[in-house]
Subunit: 157 residues, 2 copies
Amino acid sequence: MKLSTKGRYAVMAMVDLARHAQAKPVSLSDIATRQEISLSYLEQLFARLRRAGLVKSVRGPGGGYRLARGSADTRVSEIILAVDEPISATRCTEMGATGCRADRSKCLTHDLWEELGNQIHLFLSSVTLLDVLERRLASRLLEAPSAANSDTMAAAS
Amino acid sequence: MKLSTKGRYAVMAMVDLARHAQAKPVSLSDIATRQEISLSYLEQLFARLRRAGLVKSVRGPGGGYRLARGSADTRVSEIILAVDEPISATRCTEMGATGCRADRSKCLTHDLWEELGNQIHLFLSSVTLLDVLERRLASRLLEAPSAANSDTMAAAS
DNA sequence: CAAAAACCAACTGCGTCGCTCGGATTTAAT
DNA sequence: ATTAAATCCGAGCGACGCAGTTGGTTTTTG
């Protein structure tokens, strides 16, 4: 699960699409002006989203894009996975499974990244477009890791 | 909280350092050969780690690095924050607060990224070097998001 | 037919990553 | 004192992905 601004743009666009979904499909130029994203860049993102089956396209004037499924059935994780390259494998491939070193031994931190990947994916797949629109995030999962020193946290940022 | 392979290298090196901590400091060339990371690259990473106060250096032959605090008091989140650029601000600055658009309105997905950032930071700051060494991850937080459709999850990967 | 839209491919400027090179400083061991 | 092991430091480099641009083509509505 790569996490770049590219995925963010895609999610922004999809939320915008969900928001303005009506009888007529939504054109990319509308989304482009509303979200302040380059039209051609959006085209590239939506090409991937279409191939991933997240949106359907309608060609010709008055055409545009529609969500393939409902906004309550489209998860943020899917959008990000659709547009991001599945990472080019720089050593420990995040989900390697094939083992992350020359010899076959898992590196010491392998489990850590795997768990982190799980956490992120779990969170993002628990959020739908509708959730974002209606501002239903926060709460849900981890209201408090129970005990475990919760005050020694780093300075954050 | 940026998430790149750079931070991963740093964490790998720090875990290695924690593992081989004894009376004598650990030299970077030892870590380099064990972890298969370029020595000069390690030097750059440790320069940042030192400036962040996570390690102390001992110069001269027989020198090397030591953890500034114990392995149970060094959190993974601190390591990553130390080595990664604080991101160059591409629109919605992850933690913007200043607002992410030309006009002052928070973009629709602002809350989402903020929450995601919180999740990641919370997880990574709940894991210490000692935890990684002793393979104490998994479990901890979200054993189950209680209700909320947990079966409709995307294909993962 | 004209215009609006999705489609498509190639290219570009830029920044970061991972790494190299060539040093300099400090300091323990001989 | 010399040597050598180590940290320090800065400049630069090749490759890659990102965000965007250009210049089309196809489809379809009016």
